[in-house]
């Protein structure tokens, strides 16, 4: 058990190191990329560029720059932005995190419930019109660019049908804090939740249906039915339990990545200042300290959710427990 934990920690450190090094290299060592020139702006005088290069420490060796930045990010935690000088990056990320968490957690509830509902219903009504219609809807969900779907939701709920009873409750775009205005928080997030979840309901519903159909051909299902178990029990206790294993893996990966900032497009379309948007803005202004902070935060979530998935595995799959 202890070795497993140590191994996991080592892996986490390795992946986070790898990602920070990758980001660092993308921004500092790409051929033709010059951060000083970028910060100085277009048509800056050569002296200005040189001054900036010295000022920000870009003239020092790359490993030294990397080391200093990592130390200020993790140990002294006083890393400041390149663009808004004096602005500390860690509090910025911490302020954006609840917004992204609100968005992703709500959507996750929707897509897990929706995905299981779609998958189970389609598997039960296999090869009927209901199954085909559900799978077509799921495929449409998978095929829509999320930002476009968000735009269309905005068009309908903020403009075209905003004055009808259907959408008159929808508040303007933006985020309201859960603690000060819980009802407002819920109302502003319902449509973003639905938008973000649509894609995942499609993916999860399809995967679950395929797994269930496969599971129903297994010997243990035949045994369960031969024993005279009710169809509902066969589905829930036997087929669904096996089929949820890949579901859990996918959920861990998707949830981690989304909390880490991959919900960026949804955040941009709905004007939510979450981690994704923060990362995107940092990337646009080449604010390397901010980029490193957000990316470290993102990879942390990815690695942590991966570890959680492995633990959940042991709980739901007895085969893993033995090995």
């Amino acid at each position: 058990m202890l070795t497993a934990i140590i191994q996991r920690l080592a892996q986490m450190v390795f992946v986070m190191f790898g990602i920070s090094a990758l980001v660092f290299l993308i921004f500092f060592a790409t051929p033709g990329a010059d951060p000083a020139a970028r910060i100085a702006g277009r048509n800056a005088a050569q002296e200005t560029v040189e001054a900036i290069r010295h000022d920000f420490g870009f003239d020092r060796p790359l490993p030294v720059q990397y080391g200093i930045m990592m130390k200020r990010l993790f140990i002294s935690r006083d890393l400041t932005s390149f663009v808004n000088r004096g602005l500390q990056v860690v509090p910025q990320v911490l302020a954006a995190a609840p917004i992204t968490l609100s968005l992703v957690c709500g959507a996750a509830v929707l897509w897990v419930v929706g995905g299981i509902a779609v998958g189970v219903l389609a598997a039960l009504t296999r090869d009927t019109i209901i199954d085909k219609a559900l799978m077509m809807l799921a495929l449409i969900g998978v095929s829509m660019p999320v930002f476009w779907f968000g735009e269309m939701m905005n068009l309908v709920s903020q403009s075209r049908f905003h004055d009808t009873w259907l959408f008159s409750w929808v508040p303007g775009l933006g985020y309201k804090s859960l603690w000060t205005d819980p009802w407002g928080w819920f109302k502003t997030l319902v449509i973003p939740w639905f938008t973000l979840a649509a894609l995942y309901i499609g993916i999860y519903g399809r995967v679950l249906r395929a797994n269930l159909v496969e599971a129903y051909q297994e010997d243990f299902i035949r045994t369960a039915r031969a024993k005279g178990l009710s169809p509902a029990r066969v589905m829930v206790r036997h087929a669904l339990r096996v089929s949820l294993i890949p579901f859990v893996t996918m959920f861990g990966l998707d949830f981690g990545v989304l909390v880490g900032g991959a919900a960026l497009l949804t955040e941009v379309v709905f004007g939510l200042n979450g981690v994704g948007r923060l990362t995107y803005q940092a990337l646009l202004s080449l604010d390397l300290p901010m980029i490193l902070a957000t990316v470290m935060y993102a990879s942390f979530f990815v690695v942590v959710t991966n570890a959680l998935v492995d633990m959940l595995y042991v709980l739901i799959d007895p085969r893993v427990r033995k090995s």
């Binding site: 390795f14 992946v15 790898g18 990602i19 990758l22 980001v23 993308i26 921004f27 790409t30 051929p31 033709g32 990329a33 010059d34 970028r38 495929l139 449409i140 998978v142 095929s143 829509m144 660019p145 999320v146 930002f147 476009w148 735009e151 269309m152 905005n154 068009l155 903020q158 403009s159 075209r160 995967v207 395929a210 890949p246 893996t249 996918m250 990545v257 880490g260 900032g261 991959a262 960026l264 497009l265 941009v268 990362t279 995107y280 990337l283 646009l284 080449l286 980029i291 990316v295 993102a298 990879s299 990815v302 690695v303 991966n306």
Partner: protein, 350 residues
Amino acid sequence: MADTSTSSPAVPGGIAAGERASRRARRGQSPWVRAWLILRRDRAAILAAIVLVIIVVASLLAPLYAAHVSRTDPFRSNLSGSITIDGQSVAIMQSSTQGLGLGVVPIGPTWRAQYLLGADAQGRDVAARLLYGGRNSLLIAGASTLICLVLAALVGTCAGFFGGATDMVLSRLLDVLWAFPVYLLAISLSIVLISQGITIGPVEIKSGSLLLPIGIIGIIYVPYIARPVRGRVLALRGSEFVLAARGLGIPRWRILRKDILPNVATTLIVYIPLMMALNIVTESALSFLSIGVQAPDASWGTIMQDGQTLLYTRPVVALAPGLAVVATVLALNVLGDGVRDALDPRTKLR
């Protein structure tokens, strides 16, 4: 991920070529013929293929449409122009009638040859741009799929076949890429490369070049494909027919070429439509964030971005390219399902 489980080879390799040919003749069908026969019966997949052909042909005809039907230049802004509808001259940029009456609104859908779907904020014909945009979106999706599959095949096969240190290094590299949210990776690369271009030795790629989004989208999904390929190669390497071939003293590169690669090929082909679908969506997302295809070039993503500012006044500018993306991606996914069922039902994306 879970694709490393036991799997039997689709093509029985390791048998002398002459005998293999005679076996095939006896059964009368090669695996490819068999796959085609299955695919041909899949009505949804055939319908999807027809839809795709229509979309591709329509996109290829973009210059003809612009020259003879819409008769406008879809790459030049046309803020002061006007067109004739029912004998009346109508300005393309009309002064706003809503709100304070300030600013101008581009002409809406005319449902005529000129400005069929209206104009964008630059006064350009949206319908013509949609067709030109389709060319770029499809080109980027196709080319980046090709790059992705070639790289993934190379990495996955090397890691799986050579094992040991090669596998160790390549797998850890894939792990790092895997833990990186794809969009963030794509955005990071795009921001650096698209603003400045890239110079690798004698090759210089300008900042507006289509090669940049193609390369970026091609690279970011490599782990998605390389992992299953590696798993497949690992399973094949331990399979009996490969062990038999090794026992016979057949050189490794020959085993790789004759026994491993044909089996990996089916896995790769299954991914082509699915990856193209994913790449079209990725391209549109990057262009939507204005770090994909650069103006004045069009792609479905850039038109959606143009449409965002006009969302409440002229929604068709954002609606039309979105529907084009959904139709294309849907068709690709349906076709992809069909191809997968025909070739290799075990393969799953992700």
